[in-house]
């Protein structure tokens, strides 16, 4: 026992990594099934419901489908076209998957375990692979930018027009949406006063006010931007099938394609995690989970369950949105990012910064209760004003009337003057 003591934190970290990676991969596989079910149900179909336990006739509502899907795509030929850049072509799916998985080192997937009483282990044990990381949020965003490199590399190395266009669109889109994403995030970081995601969750649990309620504008901006970051509809231009065949993964097949697709689902899971942790209170639920750091075993798993349920809810929302809106045109996408989301994000940031700056004075003058109310009402006022301003002022960018040149208009006018056309 004593000989093991120095290695205990490492072992604990390895156990957590094992659980997390195993859980995430399974979740990604089953999310494909959920996605297909949602697609089917929204289109009034039944969806995959046949595959169950292999070699039997038990179908279990199609719960065996992920296994069949995975086996099928692994067994497929892993074809490498002759015209690709071999090194980058092979590296791209590895980069994107490694980055998408490494993100989760800094993302807490629960609260804490009750003290285990094992000497050498820090107590209580947090549900987090790298608990000491002070720059958790930065880590997450740095690695999600690395994941973009996977898309770019894939598109570039494919040496294919569709792939290239997909990579190009992806880079423009992600550059545009990183900014609103960062602005939405900054508000939360300012309010919580920490870059650690578990501290951000604890702050919401202690006050009982989730940041989605305290910063509605930031929440909306972050939500929209994370749809774009995860390249989900209506922002899935990098892989718009109708225009770009498969976008950046046009030339990929077999297990490399599988890596891309899994990474794509992990992006969505990451986005859901971040939305829940930063804006929807993480593991906190009023009257269910409590808010202190002291937990029982039941409490620990209850919090884990609440967090998972919220994340699943957000993912379902992602999937529902997919079938509700058509894809944006590229100019509309850019309009939304630069002319709507960026100003709204700045407005949110300024509001939050002002409130946080003057919170002590407010509490001093009005007392803690009214100050809290003011701190809650002001962002909502900014939210409504900003939203209406954005709707009224920004060009809608949806004008689809055919362009009539001056010559054409002149000709029309002259025809009208000659009474050839009835008006």
């Amino acid at each position: 026992m004593n000989a093991l003591t120095p290695f205990l934190p490492t072992i604990a970290a390895l156990v957590k990594i094992g659980l997390l990676v195993g859980g995430l991969m399974t979740a990604a596989a089953y999310l494909v099934l959920v996605e297909r079910w949602m697609a089917a149900w929204v289109q009034d179909r039944k969806g995959p419901n046949r595959v169950g336990i292999p070699l039997t006739k038990i179908s279990l509502f199609g719960l065996g489908q992920p296994l069949a899907d995975g086996l099928k795509i692994i067994m497929k030929e892993d074809f490498t076209p002759r015209h690709v850049d071999k090194v980058l072509y092979t590296a791209a799916p590895l980069v994107i998957l490694a980055a998408s998985l490494a993100i989760f080192a800094a993302i807490p997937f629960g609260s804490v375990l009750p003290p285990l009483g094992i000497p050498g282990l820090p107590d209580p044990v947090p549900f987090l692979v790298a608990p000491g990381l002070d720059v958790g949020v930065l880590w997450v965003f740095a690695l999600s930018s690395i994941a973009v490199y996977g898309v770019l590399l894939g598109g570039w190395a494919s040496n294919n027009k569709y792939g290239f266009l997909g990579g190009l669109r992806s880079s423009a889109q992600l550059v545009a949406y990183e900014i609103p994403l960062g602005l939405g995030l900054l508000g939360v970081v300012l309010a919580a006063g920490s870059l650690k995601l578990d501290v951000i969750m604890n702050a919401q649990a202690e006050s009982g006010v989730w940041y989605a309620f305290a910063q509605p504008l930031g929440f909306i901006v972050f939500l929209v931007a994370s749809f774009a970051e995860a390249a989900r509809l209506p922002f899935d231009l990098p892989e718009a099938e109708q225009e770009l065949v498969g976008g950046y993964h046009t030339e990929y097949s077999g297990i490399k394609l599988l890596l891309f697709l899994v990474a794509e689902f992990l992006h969505m899971v990451t986005a859901a995690f971040l939305i829940v942790i930063m804006f929807l209170g993480g593991w906190h639920l009023w009257g269910v989970t409590g808010s202190s750091q002291e937990v029982t075993w039941l409490g620990a798993f209850l919090r884990f369950g609440v967090l998972s349920a919220k994340i699943f809810g957000v993912i379902l929302f992602f999937m529902l949105v997919r079938w509700s809106w058509p894809r944006f045109r590229f100019d509309q996408l850019m309009n939304l990012a630069w002319k709507v989301m960026l100003p709204l994000g700045i407005a949110n940031l300024v509001t939050v910064a002002t409130i946080e700056e003057f919170r002590p004075q407010l509490i001093e003058r009005f007392g803690a209760g009214p100050a809290g109310v003011i701190a809650l009402v002001a962002p909502w006022a900014v939210f409504f004003l900003g939203w209406i301003a954005a709707g009224v002022l920004t060009p809608s960018g949806t004008d689809n009337t055919p362009i009539r040149t001056h010559t054409m208009l002149d000709a029309e006018r002259s025809l009208r003057e000659q009474d050839l056309v009835e008006v």
């Binding site: 149900w41 289109q43 179909r45 039944k46 419901n49 509700s324 939203w387 209406i388 009539r404 025809l415």
Partner: protein
């Protein structure tokens, strides 16, 4: 057609109203539509176990059958009208003198190549004695091309199989319509 053509009417797109520009009503509208479909009853069926319902079996154009008359004889008089009408040339009839006094000829062999057939229903329209009809059998499969050429016995057996569910269509000839 040129844009200046007098017959072209140009319609200006209606400018977006405030509610539309705020996007929220459209957002809610879109989500409600999808959510409604998410829980609404499904239109597809689990096929081999559940059979799809054919809207009106009498006008459905599925596998052919050769009808029998009240005495159980083949109704066909080998007039070749169906074979002539067939745009896919999939009907092959060999006629011979009828053994019965009420008609001159009858088909010695009557074969339809179901793989060539385009299920247009022209044979049924052409037939003067309502001998050939299209049933509502919709899943037609076979393991070889030869198997898919239906001869007279097979077509008559299709009639025996479907006569209860789908009575003959011409009332004057023993059908329901």
């Amino acid at each position: 057609m040129k844009p200046t053509d007098p017959s072209v009417t140009w319609i200006e797109e209606k400018p977006l109203g405030l509610a539309e520009r705020l996007y929220l009503p459209l957002f809610v509208q879109g989500l409600t539509t999808t959510a409604r479909h998410l829980v609404s009853p499904k239109l597809t069926v689990s096929y081999p176990e559940q059979r799809p319902t054919v809207g009106n079996p009498l006008i459905y154009r599925g596998v052919h059958r050769l009808n029998r008359d009240q005495e159980g004889r083949v109704k066909c008089v080998a007039c070749f009208l169906c074979a002539t009408a067939c745009p896919a040339h999939c009907i092959d009839i060999v006629a011979t003198n009828s053994p019965w006094p009420d008609r001159e000829k009858y088909p010695e062999s009557f074969a339809i190549d179901e793989l060539r057939c385009i299920f247009c229903g022209m044979c049924e329209e052409a037939c003067p004695v309502d001998a050939i009809e299209l049933t509502s059998l919709l899943d037609l499969t076979g393991k070889s091309r030869e198997e898919m050429i239906f001869d007279k016995e097979k077509l008559l057996s299709v009639y025996d199989m479907t006569k209860d569910a789908e009575p003959m269509k011409s009332a004057s000839l023993g059908g329901t319509l």
